[in-house]
């Protein structure tokens, strides 16, 4: 397998898993919370390293999922104590992220998880960081991790499709019907956390939120059906990741930065040209309404 193949596979896996999880985050209006989680999971990674003394991906996932869910628990606690939700998110997120950064700089400076790598990501190194798992050689660790995460995400979304749908659309009815609304929330937060961790190597903590939010927001503007929104979001995630990589290689720019930029560009295009939600379409239909007003 060639170097570029692994890069593109990694980028596509990031695009798909972030894309499908992002749909649920968008529909639940949780962009802010996912931004917070994608940062605080750094604390989960470093804690699991300090506790287990290994860089095993599995422990990193567990650590990340726990801290991700803890983030939402703390936010909810502050919130129900009367702190506004965006302020609660801001406080929890900066606090936990800061602890993560401090722990990394104190205890893990010489280990491979250097701060810069986790924060900025570096997909260019991924093809060389292979592991031999299940007797299969030569597959990069990031591809393994992203593959597992994608399977978990897909499995949970398919299993809980209608539950996620109702609790996103109408949490009141979902709770009245007795769906496990709270559990669904934490399952999604766990999915967001492990997806963010698996994507760190490629895009880093700062920009993973762009991959989580932008493709879903783009798909939201373009479709009227939930299953289509998942598919489109995954496709946009892949397009952003792959084109971002090539443009960055061509301009010799930051790969993570260019992927996030392309995700933003796709959103902008949809925002302007979407036949239903785009600003051009809205202008046009407004003018039509005004004309009708004048005529009558």
């Amino acid at each position: 397998m060639t170097y570029t193949f692994w890069i593109l596979l990694t980028a596509s896996l990031v695009g798909i898993s972030c894309g499908i999880v992002g749909v649920l985050l968008i529909l639940r209006k949780m962009a802010m919370l996912s931004d917070a989680i994608s940062h605080t999971v750094l604390l989960g990674i470093i804690s699991s390293y300090l506790i287990t003394n290994s860089l095993d991906g599995f422990y990193m996932f567990i650590g990340a999922a726990i801290v991700g869910v803890l983030t939402t628990v703390f936010v909810q606690l502050l919130n129900s104590a009367g702190v506004q939700s965006d302020a609660a998110i801001g406080v929890v997120f900066t606090f936990l992220f800061a602890i993560g950064v401090i722990l990394v700089s104190m205890f893990a400076r010489d280990v491979h998880i250097d701060v810069e790598h986790s924060i900025m990501g570096e997909i260019a190194f991924i093809p060389w960081m292979t592991v031999d798992w299940f007797g299969i050689e030569g597959i990069p660790q990031a591809v393994w991790m992203l593959g597992f995460v994608l399977i978990i995400d897909l499995f949970l979304i398919l299993l809980l499709y209608k539950e996620f749908k109702l609790s996103s659309f109408d949490p009141g009815l979902a709770a009245a019907l007795g769906l496990p609304v709270g559990l669904l929330h934490y399952v999604l937060m766990g999915m967001t956390s492990i997806t963010a961790v698996a994507s760190f190597d490629a895009v880093g903590a700062i920009l993973v939120v762009a991959m989580l939010i932008a493709p879903g927001a783009t798909a939201y503007l373009l479709t009227e059906r939930l299953h289509m929104m998942f598919i489109l979001s995954a496709v946009f995630g892949v397009i952003a990741a792959v084109t971002g990589y090539f443009i960055a290689a061509w301009l010799n720019a930051s790969i993570a930065g260019m992927m996030a930029t392309m995700a933003g560009v796709l959103f902008l295009l949809a925002f302007i040209f979407s036949p239903t939600h785009g600003i051009i379409a809205k202008r046009f239909s407004q003018r039509k309404i005004q004309q009708v007003d004048i005529e009558t």
Binding site: L27, E163, F169, D170, A176, L177, R225
Partner: protein
């Protein structure tokens, strides 16, 4: 046995009480209106009965059992404005949501659920819009979809939060028709209502609420200008007009 028995319900948001010691017993097979000014706690009362907001004190029984045990016989129509109508889904899909409890965790809707949902859409005159994206429906049509979803719950007791708000005259008529059909089937319907002009036409019983329960009883005994003054304070100009015109309010 009474469909709803509420004992001393108190609800507070951030320590500010929005419902205080509300007790009542709702009679079976009646259309019951809940009225009161904005922020009186009407929506909160419904939510506390359905266990959607924590109660500081008090308890509620549905036919003598807790709500948790009676979910399957209770239908709920939240305020239309409480959901995102740009959500990527169709009218039929929203109605199907009413059956998610019967369908069960992890399971997908079956043909027979779709058929049931379609017939509920028919009951509100919306079958030709089944596949429409919900954002392309008018306010009245959206409300009908919400009602169809409640019908799909196939309940004995219905709670509806301001179903008449922002709907066209045809929809208002359709809803009134639907309410009386539900009553004929012996169902109990509790409706949060804002339009005082129609209270006497629409409801058998009425609750006047403003943080506390001001009154609860048959409409002709309860919907009196005295009690309304007590509920709304001195702001009820339309009542004065009616009295001047010589239409006594009793």
């Amino acid at each position: 046995m009474n469909p709803i028995t509420a004992n001393n319900i108190t609800v507070a948001y951030h320590r500010k009480p929005v419902l205080q010691s509300v007790s009542f017993e709702a009679p079976e097979g009646k259309l019951i209106g809940i009225i009161g000014p904005n922020g009186a706690g009407k929506s909160t009362l419904l939510k506390s009965i359905l266990g959607l907001v924590p109660k500081a004190s008090g308890d509620v029984n549905i036919y003598g059992k807790t709500y948790r045990k009676q979910r399957q016989i209770v239908g709920y129509v939240p305020q239309r404005g409480s959901v995102d109508w740009d959500f990527p889904t169709s009218a039929l899909d929203v109605v199907l949501m009413g059956r998610y409890r019967q369908i069960g965790l992890f399971r997908r809707p079956k043909k027979n659920d779709v058929k049931e949902a379609m017939s509920c859409l028919e009951k509100v005159g919306m079958e030709q819009y089944a596949n429409r994206q919900i954002s392309q429906l008018s306010g009245g049509q959206q409300q009908r979809v919400f009602l169809a979803r409640a019908l799909a719950q196939n309940a004995h007791i219905y709670f509806m939060d301001e179903p008449f708000i922002g709907v066209d005259a045809a929809t208002e008529k359709a809803i009134v028709q639907l309410l009386s059909e539900l009553r004929e089937q012996g169902k109990t319907v509790i409706v949060v209502h804002h339009d005082l002009q129609t209270v006497k036409d629409y409801f058998d019983w009425v609750m006047l609420l403003n943080v506390r329960k001001i009154a609860f009883g048959p409409t002709n005994e309860t919907f009196t200008s005295d009690l309304l003054q007590k509920t709304y304070g001195g702001k009820l100009t339309f009542l004065d007009q009616k009295e001047e015109e010589g239409v006594p309010f009793a």
